[in-house]
């Protein structure tokens, strides 16, 4: 099973980026909206004051004997000074002739015979807002027009706008920062159910394939439902595999045993030497098939079970004693003495079935490769923080070269031709040891002939 997952992007980062981008767009929009509203308001308020001042001036105009009488009201200009310290210019035209004020101040646009006209333009190298308003009077029976042009610079407005711009910028920045903090919190809280689910699924194994029952957000419900269905199928599939393996072991081994018995009976009956040789060959082949089938099923079981290793305390002393008892009859058939030597009481954490399988394969090998009338010793000890199951025999030992290669699947020693073997025994033991975080060490005895195979497991 592969431990690497191809990941691209991150939900949290994507959420953050999207929220921040949204916030940035909103903050900038806020800035420009506030600024443009402020500009509009400032312009309108200047226009209103200019209009009020212009109408105050026009109200003070009258015609007496064809002469313009104009008592400029002080308030007209002082009200302009109230809003800001802006400069003021004015020009008054009577009957299309300039009469007083600044003669270079232009009237804004043509008369529309309606309301005041506004224009913004440069006057004396400064930008000014000019209002032009007019009033119709009558003189000697004919209409005359008084026009006033009133202009004000826009420094105050500019200052005000700068201030508002700064405020709006601060507001926008504050808004952005608040949203950034909120986005961070939101991303973290929205990702947390996923983390909880990950943790919950990570705890599942072959012994624990319960559906996830804790409530999850509705968006994750389909995923969790699919996961639960998947785990359910996996559970079914796992139990089927185990059933199949047990079933297959049973169905293959039992007929083989029957065939072997029948072959032995036949062996005893036939007398011709060539027939007896044939039947011996047959029995040998049956033994080989039986062992191979058993080990292949063992190996399949190991592969299956090590994927999700069970975590239970395994008493290695009891386990060793049981295994020695079980194999002793087989050893005695060959007059081999199987000795259990317990030095310490040790235990490890793991799958007892797997450890049994590993030990059985090692002892099986030892019995198989030992000469008759020899001794096999299984020592259970504690050594440098490890629980060790050490098997010593007095057989042919391992070949000098390529000891480590023997752990590979279907690899057999160069010196064991003629002995029935599948080449899976050490592979199984090695995989079991490694699945438990331990190791398999194979070597020859330092004193005398024979092999020394050590299974090491972490102590619990």
């Amino acid at each position: 099973m592969s431990g690497t997952v191809h990941s691209r992007g991150s939900i949290r980062r994507r959420l953050m980026v999207q929220l921040l981008l949204g916030a940035a767009v909103l903050a900038i929009a806020l800035f420009f909206i506030v600024q443009s509203l402020a500009r509009q308001l400032a312009e309108e308020s200047q226009d209103h004051i200019l209009a009020a001042a212009a109408s105050a001036i026009l109200d003070a105009a009258s015609v007496r004997q064809g002469e313009l009488q104009l008592d400029l009201p002080y308030s007209a200009f002082s009200m302009l000074g109230n809003l800001s310290n802006d400069r003021v210019f004015y020009a008054i035209h009577f009957d299309d002739t300039f009469v007083t004020g600044y003669d270079d101040l232009p009237l804004a646009l043509e008369s529309n015979n309606f309301g005041p006209r506004f224009v913004t333009r440069l006057f004396r190298s400064e930008e000014v807002r000019i209002i032009t308003a007019e009033r119709r009077l009558a003189s000697a029976g004919k209409p005359v027009t008084v026009e006033v042009a009133l202009a004000q610079t826009r420094d105050g407005q500019r200052d005000q706008l700068n201030w508002i711009s700064q405020t709006a910028a601060t507001l926008g920045a504050g808004f952005f920062v608040s949203v950034a903090v909120l986005a961070f919190l939101a991303a973290r809280s929205s990702i947390s159910p996923l983390l909880r689910l990950t943790e919950s699924v990570g705890r599942r194994g072959p012994q624990d394939l319960r559906p996830v029952a804790a409530p999850v957000p509705s968006e994750m419900a389909p995923l969790v439902a699919a996961l639960n269905r998947f785990m359910d199928r996996l559970k079914t599939s796992l139990s089927r595999s185990e059933e199949f393996i047990a079933d297959a072991a049973h169905r293959v081994r039992t007929p083989l045993a029957t065939v072997r018995t029948q072959a032995e009976i036949t062996y005893r009956r036939v007398e011709k030497e060539e027939n007896r040789t044939s039947i011996r060959e047959m029995i040998r082949a049956i033994d080989e098939s039986s062992r191979a089938a058993g080990q292949m099923l063992d190996h399949a079981m190991v592969t299956l079970r090590t994927d999700h290793l069970e975590q239970a305390v395994v008493d290695l002393n009891t386990l060793s004693a049981e295994m020695v008892d079980r194999l002793r009859p087989m050893a005695e058939l060959r007059d081999i003495d199987l000795v259990l030597n317990v030095l310490n009481k040790v235990a490890t954490v793991g799958d007892a079935i797997l450890i049994q399988g590993a030990l059985r394969n090692i002892l099986d090998n030892a019995i198989k490769y030992s000469s008759t009338d020899s001794t096999i010793t299984l020592s259970v000890s504690q050594n440098a923080g490890w629980a060790q199951l050490k098997t010593n025999d007095q057989g042919i030992g391992f070949p000098e070269n390529g000891v480590e290669a023997l752990k590979n699947r279907y690899a057999r020693g160069a010196n064991v031709e003629g002995v029935v073997g599948s080449g899976l025994g050490l592979t199984i033991a090695d995989e079991v040891a490694r699945a438990h975080g331990g190791s398999l060490n194979i070597a020859n005895n330092t004193e005398g002939p024979g092999a020394c195979v050590t299974l090491s497991f972490p102590l619990c």
Binding site: L68, S78, L80, G81, R87
Partner: protein, 341 residues
């Protein structure tokens, strides 16, 4: 002190080389200095000498060319002839405001200008450095045995009760000649109608018209006048003969004029003009908002009269009374009141 300064007094009547009329020109500081500040001012040399001396003590290589003109000549020099001056000082608030409004000033901002009260500054162009109340000067001799008036209304009552005593013995500015008189009169008329009643009473009693405060005070001192209306209080109090008259700050309202300084647009030594203005403002305002004694030897404490003070407000409102139509109609009304032939 004055003998320490190399002073060059040029009394130039008439001064013909320029179109504007110079009354007096004095050079302070080293002769032929490359660093020269040209000051155009309506203030007497006597008034500004201590301040300029103080400035030169801190800037020893700088010379100050001090030119005295009338306020209307100052206006003409800056706005029409665009003469090259670095600093312009005037008591004519309206004309100074018009110079600033019409763009003849160079804006200047510093710690000293920003420290000014709101009412002592217009934009970054015009800075006030004195507060000079318009007062009523009463002859002690003439008012012996009479109750001293406190308000214009009091004065009107006394004048009406004793027409013979005061006939021909009331002095005030001739608004047609004096810009300051016109400024005071227009501001008085804005504040209260009582101004017009008083003017009519004065007109009925054959008021004498003057060009300047000092002449009026002289005549009060000699007994030729009993009452002088709208006289600069600082002038009166800085005289030696203050025992002969009473300087009254009317308690109904006292119009306060402020002298202002500006830097003309075409100043050639702005880098010298700016510290000069800073120094002037610091000297003027270093005493918690009160005008400095270095500028005016004034014993007048305005703080106690704060409620009745009407400081003339700098700003575009001052342009109104400079308008030809407005001025013509105001002077017509005034002439009708004061010249009752």
């Amino acid at each position: 002190m004055r003998h320490l300064i190399l002073s060059l007094v040029l009394i130039l009547y008439p001064f013909t080389s320029g179109a504007f009329e110079i009354e007096e020109q004095v050079l302070f500081g080293p002769e032929n200095s490359a660093r020269m500040i040209r000051v155009i001012s309506t203030g007497d040399v006597r008034v500004f000498e201590p301040m300029i001396t103080g400035f030169l003590a801190e800037n020893t290589d700088v010379a100050v060319d001090y030119t005295v003109v009338s306020s209307s000549e100052l206006m003409k020099a800056i706005s029409q002839e665009e003469a090259s001056f670095d600093v312009a000082i005037s008591s004519a608030m309206d004309l100074q405001t018009k110079l600033a409004n019409d763009g003849f000033t160079a804006p200047y901002s510093s710690q000293a200008t920003e420290a000014l009260p709101e009412w002592a500054r217009w934009r970054q162009d015009l800075f006030a450095f004195t507060q000079e109340p318009a007062t009523i000067v009463l002859s002690k001799e003439a008012f012996a045995g009479l109750p001293l008036p406190q308000t214009r209304q009091d004065l009107i009552s006394i004048l009406r009760q004793h027409p013979d005593k005061f006939r021909g013995k009331i002095g005030t500015y001739d608004l047609r000649q004096s810009g300051l008189g016109y400024l005071f009169a227009t501001q008085d008329s804005r504040t209260s109608e009582v101004y017009w009643r008083l003017t009519e009473v004065m007109g009925a009693l054959d008021a004498q018209l003057y060009c300047c405060s000092s002449d009026m005070i002289n005549d009060v001192s000699t007994g030729k006048l009993a009452v002088a209306y709208n006289v600069l209080g600082n002038y009166a109090l800085s005289r030696a003969d203050t025992d002969r008259f009473i300087v009254l700050l009317p308690s109904d309202f006292t119009t306060v004029m402020m002298r202002t300084v500006l830097i003309p647009r075409n100043a050639q030594n702005k880098e010298l003009a700016e510290p000069f203005v800073d120094y002037l403002l610091q000297v003027a305002w270093n005493n918690a908002g009160q005008p400095s004694k270095q500028l005016y030897n004034s014993i007048m404490t305005l703080a106690q009269k704060e409620d009745s003070l009407r400081r003339i407000r700098l700003g575009p409102g001052l342009l109104i009374f400079l308008d030809t139509y407005k001025k013509r109609s105001f002077l017509t009304a005034w002439e009708n009141a004061i010249l009752q032939e």
